[in-house]
Structures are given as C-alpha cells and as structure tokens.
C-alpha cells in the first residue's frame, strides 16, 4: 500500500429523478486496497456504483471524485472505463445476437483507440480471450455465445469477472457480485477477483453479506446508511454486522440526527 491515492470521493451527492439518494459520500481508496461497502437495502450502495460509473439515470448534484488525477465526474461513461474504472453489474444486461467475442473486441479496441494504439490483431485478441477465460473457468462455448443471453446467474457473474480480467481496470467495483450465486460459483468468482489483484489496482466490493468477504478479504469495511458512510472499520466490522445486523447502526444514526 502506498501514499498514492487512486480514488478520492468528496461529499458526493446524487439523485434519481427528484429523490436524493447519495447525501455526501466521502471515500479514499489507495492502490492495492480492497474496500467493502455494506449496508441495509435502499441505503444507496448500488447508486454509488452507478454514479461512479456514470450511469445517466442518476444526476450528480454536488461533490467531486478524483480518479488518479482525473476528474471522474467530467468524463463520459466510456472514458471512465478507458481510464480504468470497471463495474461488475448486479444484473448483467443481455444483448441478443452480439457474441462475447465481438463485444469484447469492440471494448478492447475502443480502449486502445483512446490511448492512440492500433487495434489488436485478431490472433492476439483470441489469445487474450483464451488466457483470460481461464481466470474464471469460463468455457469456450460461453465466450462464443451472445452477451449474457441465456446465461445462468452464476455464468453471468463469471462473465463479468472475465470481462474485468480482459480490461484490467485500475479500480473494479463489484456490485453484489455474490447475489444469486451458489457456493461453488462464489468460490470461482472470488478466486478470479483475487487472481486479478495487484498492488496497483483496487477493488470496491458491494455486498449484503459477510459470506463473500470470507473469500475476498477487505482492508476496510464501510457501512452506508441513508446515503452516507456512517461507519468505517476493519474486517471485524463485517463480522460484527453479520452477527448483530444493521439495526444497532440504524439506531445510532437515527438518534444522532434526533439529537441534532
């Protein structure tokens, strides 16, 4: 871990339609770190990942996000991707008729174009696909099928991590990657994430459950409640949440605001 900061989020606020969901998020992430973001339903976890990735369904109303010296919020979603932000979707989208191969080639070459590099040759690209498939034990057939079409829940999540492996992001946000996974699939997916970990990149793991954190060890655990990070701790915090639930945090917070 270094003093270098990969992502610095300050007082980030966002709304969807007229409803304010993020009410001032502060978050600092350094290379090599794994951050878990937990919290009850509706606390804004998925909104945070969407806003960082630039989903146009959300409107940023205040705050800033500095991504290794780049003003993240000023970039288009595709440029955020090129700069090294990856979002593993909670519900990966189906794109009928578009093969994973064509989809990933478009993604890889768009990134290369952004950095003024020539498109990757077909043989190099296929080699890359083969190599990265192994990370999540994705078989050849899956790679030639249409994007997420007819994939099981587990296959969809493995496919997300496969894409992450190909794109080699600086910062990966895993949005409830564990939801809908059985224990074997969970192990494969988590194993993939761990294999991709380096001291240059970082990961945000958004989850409800401690379970995933048994496999992906966080350095920090944050609790998100009503659009704010209300508690930050080490891995022990996740265990405590698993045991005690969120009610004690809700109470603490709600009392605090009552006193105010």
């Amino acid at each position: 871990m270094s003093d270098e900061i990969l992502l610095e989020v300050k007082d980030l606020r966002a709304r969807v339609e007229e409803k304010e969901i993020l009410k001032g998020i502060n978050l600092t992430i350094r290379p090599g770190e794994v951050h878990a973001i937990m919290g009850p339903n509706g606390s804004g976890k998925s909104t945070l990942s969407s806003v960082l990735a630039g989903n146009p369904a959300f409107t940023v109303t205040g705050g800033s996000a500095d991504f290794h010296g780049v003003d993240l919020l000023a970039l288009s979603p595709e440029d955020r991707s090129h700069e090294g932000l990856f979002l593993s979707f909670q519900y990966p989208v189906e794109i009928p008729g578009v093969s994973m191969v064509n989809f990933m080639r478009a993604a890889v070459n768009a990134k290369r174009e952004y950095f003024n590099e020539p498109p990757m040759s077909a043989s190099d690209f296929l080699k890359l696909m083969r190599q990265k498939r192994a990370v999540v034990e994705l078989d050849n057939k899956l790679a030639s099928r249409s994007v997420n079409e007819g994939f099981s829940g587990g296959e969809k999540k493995r496919n997300e991590i496969f894409q992450m492996a190909v794109l080699e992001p600086r910062l990966a946000i895993l949005d409830e990657t564990d939801s809908g996974l059985d224990i074997d699939a969970l192990r494969v997916v988590a194993g993939g994430v761990n294999k991709l970990k380096t001291d240059r990149n970082a990961t945000i793991v958004i989850t409800h459950y401690q379970r995933l954190l048994d496999y992906i060890k966080p350095d920090f655990v944050h609790v998100l409640y009503k659009g704010r990070i209300v508690k930050t701790g080490g891995p022990d915090l996740a265990l405590e949440l698993e045991e005690r639930g969120y009610d004690w945090i809700k109470e603490e917070e709600d009392n605090k605001h009552r006193e105010e």
Binding site: V93, V98, M104, A106, A107, A110, Q163, L167
Partner: protein, 515 residues
C-alpha cells in the same frame, strides 16, 4: 489520400467553386473512398455520409422526357430488338395506360409525373466506337470507386459481375470461365440477341406485364439488366452479381433481371445498387423474375443502398420493385435475402410461388429506415402444391422520422396439403418519432396446413447502452453492435462477400440515430 488520383476535372471544379485551399487541395475529391484501410473505415463510420453520392462526368445520351408509343419504339430501336420484343413492350405499354398507381402501401408518396422522366440514358464513349469491348475510363473509375473493379487484372476473384450504369450494361466479368460450364451470364440485351428462345420462353412468365402498375411500366420501357441461365446439374462455381448504378439526372432506371435455374442446378446471385445524391427524386422500377426447376436452388441476395434523400427528406430514390420467383420444379428452393438501407421510398415484396411439390421458399429481410425514409416491404408466399414450406424472417429497424412497414401474404391453396409456414416479424425502434407497422395477410384454404406468425417490437434499452458504455464502447458503436446482433439471423444468410459490407452499412446508416 493519394492526390495524384484526383482527376483533373475535380481540381477544376474546386477552383471554379472557389473552395478554400491551394490548387492541390483535395477538397473537391474528399468523398472519394481510397483503399479501404482501417483508418478510412473508422472515418466512414464516424462521418455517416452517403459515400456513393458522387456523379460521374461522362457524356450521356439521354432521350427526351416523356412516355408514348414512340418512346417505347425508340428504346426498342436503340437496342436493335427483334419484333416480338417490341410487341411485348407495346402490349405492356397499352396495358399500363389503363392502370393507376397502387395506393395501398403505408406510404406517403407524391404523385409521380411519368411524363417528366426520361426513359433511356446511356453513357457514350467519347472517342467513338474503336473497340466495342473498350469501356470509358470514367465509367471504369466509377465502378472502381464503388468497389467493383472491372479490369481483367483487378476483377474480384470469387464473383462475376454485370455492371449496369443507367440504362445499359457496361461489362460482365468472368463470362468465359462461366461459359465453360454452360452457364450463361450476360446483360439481358445481349441475351435477347444471343439466346432469343430462352428469353422468349421465360420473359414475363413469372411477372406478367399485367401484374401491377410498375411491372407494366417496366415491361414497356425496361432498359437493361442481367440474364442468367444455369444448365441442368450445374453448380455455379462463383457468386453472380449485378451492380446497378443510376448516374444521369432526371432519368428513371428500369432494369429487368431474369434467372433460370434448370433441374438440379444451384446459383447464388447478389445485387447491389447506389445512386448519386440529387435533390430531385429518382424513379427505379425493376422486375426480377426467377424460374427454379426440379431440385434446383437459387439464392438471391440484395444489398440495396440507393440514395435515401437528405436529413430533411429532400431527394432520394423511389424504389418500386417487383421481384418474384416461381419454384416450378418439385423440391426446388428459392431464398430471398435483402438488406434494405437506402431509397426514400421502398415498395417491394420479393415473393415465392411454390408450384412444385415439396418446394420451399425463404425470405430474410433487414429493412432500415431513418430520417424521412419510408419502407413498405415484405413478401408473398403462395403455396400451390403439397408439402411446400416457407420461412419468413423480417427485421425492421426504424429511426428518426421514418416509417417502416412489413407487409406479407401467406396463401395456402386447397391443393397445398401439409403446407407449412413460419413467419417471424420483428421491429426495432430507435427513438420515439418513428413508426413500425406490421400488415400480415394469412389466407389458408387447406385444413392440413400449419401457419405460424410471431411478431415482436422492441427498443434498444438504456441499460444495454450503459452496459456497453461501461465497457468502453461509445454509444454509436454500441448501437451498431446491438443492431447487427438484432439483424444477425438475416445477415448470416448473406454470402461472405456481402456480409462484411452489409454489417458496415448498418453501422453507417444508423450513425446519429440515437441520442
């Protein structure tokens, strides 16, 4: 861009119009596509302009506008036609006079003044007829720019091409190689001279001159087109292709294609078309007739990219076409595949008449409309014999202010025992100002027939676009991917040579359609 290749004329034009830049500035030639390296493909995709919109500077003989018996006689005379063909034309013309244009299409089409069109235009050689095989270099250059090299050394290897400019066939490649197998591939004008019995036997046998208003018009004034005859038991070793180019202004193009596949033969035929950008509308009323004999198979593929008009709907080609195949022999097979991206108005229904026992017909279509384009297209599957089968897959894509209609007839006559049809009819809407319509007609007169119709309408979702964006794929490219994915079932039916071009075409055509 290689400046040396700009011809003198372009430079002169540039100066006359006071375009900015030095004398060697290539501004006037900027629409000339050079070698297709990767960077120029990216340029094509991002510019989204109609790259075939240039005009060739060639002396053209255009007969005066208007239509009369004298004009029909003049056309026939210019082509040195035999008496029987003139009679055919005159019968058609007289019948046409009794007809009115069809109004049932879901199309907003202004009345066409048929007396304001010239019915014959032919590029003439500048230096006189030294050698009949010699083609005007300007015409050669035109087809080069369209990606259809006609010179011996540059010819496409796996494909024989009949190149038609305005009313005449310019050149048919690979004829000798085909002739060795007994395959006839030439312009229909030549076929009239060289194979009069074949032409006489089949011309008008599938599409009668009485069929419809535009078919009658075509039968009266048709100029050129291709003739194909595949003898018994011969599998055509290469793709046959006709490339239609409208160049002259104020003219119509009325080509006529006749394909005959004798018993146990096979041929795959491709058709491509482009036209210059002009402010006025141009009329294109073609007829394609196909006869498929016993156990023979014909695949007919079209990539239609006539000029579609500008963003405000000015100009563009009216594409009013009658295409029909007769599966006359038992167990014969006819497959239509079309990618329709051009034309201001498209009115066409490539059809199969399934007269042979166990014969089958297929129709695979992608029709793209954007800006103010209108398309009313589909097919007719006429089941006349037992055990006939037909498949229809239609994919409509509408953007901008366009209107896109599928119109299809499935008819099962009493004799067609156990006839089977499956129709899949999908519409994809881009934006909220366009329209997609489906007009299926099903007419079943035999109890044992099974006829299925499935239809869907969808939009590209915000979620799909964001998913692509998150992976670094910009929206325009994402739309191209999604649309190509949507159309894949049809695109897969195209011969390789066309598939890549057609995919790229979809991407370019939809440039700017979203957001």
């Amino acid at each position: 861009m290689d400046k040396d290749k700009n011809n003198k004329k372009d430079k002169d034009d540039a100066e006359e119009k006071n375009l900015p830049g030095r004398k060697d500035d290539d501004a006037a030639g900027k629409d000339i596509p050079e070698r297709k390296d990767d960077s120029s493909i990216i340029d094509d995709v991002t510019s989204g302009d109609y790259k075939y919109g240039f005009v060739t500077d060639v002396d053209t003989e255009v007969i005066p506008v208007g239509l009369s018996e004298d004009v029909v006689r003049l056309i026939s005379k210019k082509k040195n036609e035999p008496e029987w063909l003139l009679e055919f034309r005159l019968k058609a013309y007289r019948h046409w006079l009794t007809m009115t244009p069809p109004k049932w299409g879901h199309l907003d089409m202004p009345d066409i003044d048929f007396q304001a069109i010239s019915y014959y235009a032919a590029p003439v050689k500048k230096d006189g007829p030294k050698d009949l095989d010699e083609i005007d270099p300007e015409v050669l250059k035109t087809f080069d720019r369209l990606g259809i090299p006609l010179q011996e050394q540059k010819m496409l290897s796996g494909m024989a091409v009949d190149a038609v400019m305005d009313s005449v066939s310019v050149k048919t490649t690979h004829r000798e190689a085909l002739a060795e197998k007994g395959i006839i591939f030439c312009s229909i004008s030549e076929a009239v001279k060289d194979y009069p019995d074949l032409v006489k036997k089949y011309l008008g046998s599938v599409v009668s001159y009485k069929d419809n208003f535009y078919a009658a018009l075509n039968s009266a004034v048709f100029s050129d087109g291709s003739f194909v005859y595949i003898p018994k038991g011969v599998r055509c070793p290469m793709e046959l292709s006709t490339y239609f180019r409208i160049n002259a202004a104020g003219t119509g193009q009325f080509e006529r294609t006749l394909i005959v596949a004798d018993d146990d033969s096979y041929v795959s035929y491709l058709e491509g078309c482009t036209a210059p950008m002009r402010d006025e509308n141009q009329l294109h009323a073609a007829i394609v007739e196909i006869v498929v004999e016993e156990r023979a198979e014909v695949k007919y593929s079209t990539v239609q990219n006539w000029y579609a008009g500008d963003a405000e709907g000015r100009g563009g080609v009216y594409n009013l076409v009658t295409k029909r195949g007769l599966c006359r022999g038992d167990y014969s097979k006819l497959s239509w595949t079309q990618v329709e991206t051009g034309s201001a108005i498209t009115w066409k229904y490539p059809s199969c008449v399934l007269a042979g026992r166990g014969s089958s017909g297929e129709f695979y279509s992608v029709a793209v409309t954007r800006n103010h384009q209108q398309a009313d297209t589909g097919t007719k599957m006429i089941h006349l014999a037992p055990d006939t089968r037909s498949t229809i897959v239609s994919k409509g894509i509408s953007a901008g202010h366009s209107e896109n209609s599928y119109r299809g007839l499935v008819k099962v006559t009493p004799a067609a025992e156990r006839a089977r049809n499956h129709t899949q009819c999908d519409s994809l809407l881009l934006g909220s100002n366009c329209g997609a319509h489906t007009f299926p007609y099903v007419d079943v007169m035999n109890q044992s027939a099974v006829v299925e119709h499935e239809a869907t309408t969808s939009k590209i979702s915000e979620e799909q676009l964001f998913y692509c964006n998150q992976r670094g794929i910009p929206t325009e490219e994402a739309v191209g991917l999604i649309v190509n994915g949507y159309a894949k079932e049809v695109m897969n039916k195209l011969p390789m040579e066309f598939a890549v071009e057609a995919q790229r075409l979809l991407q370019i055509t939809l440039e700017g359609s979203v957001g």
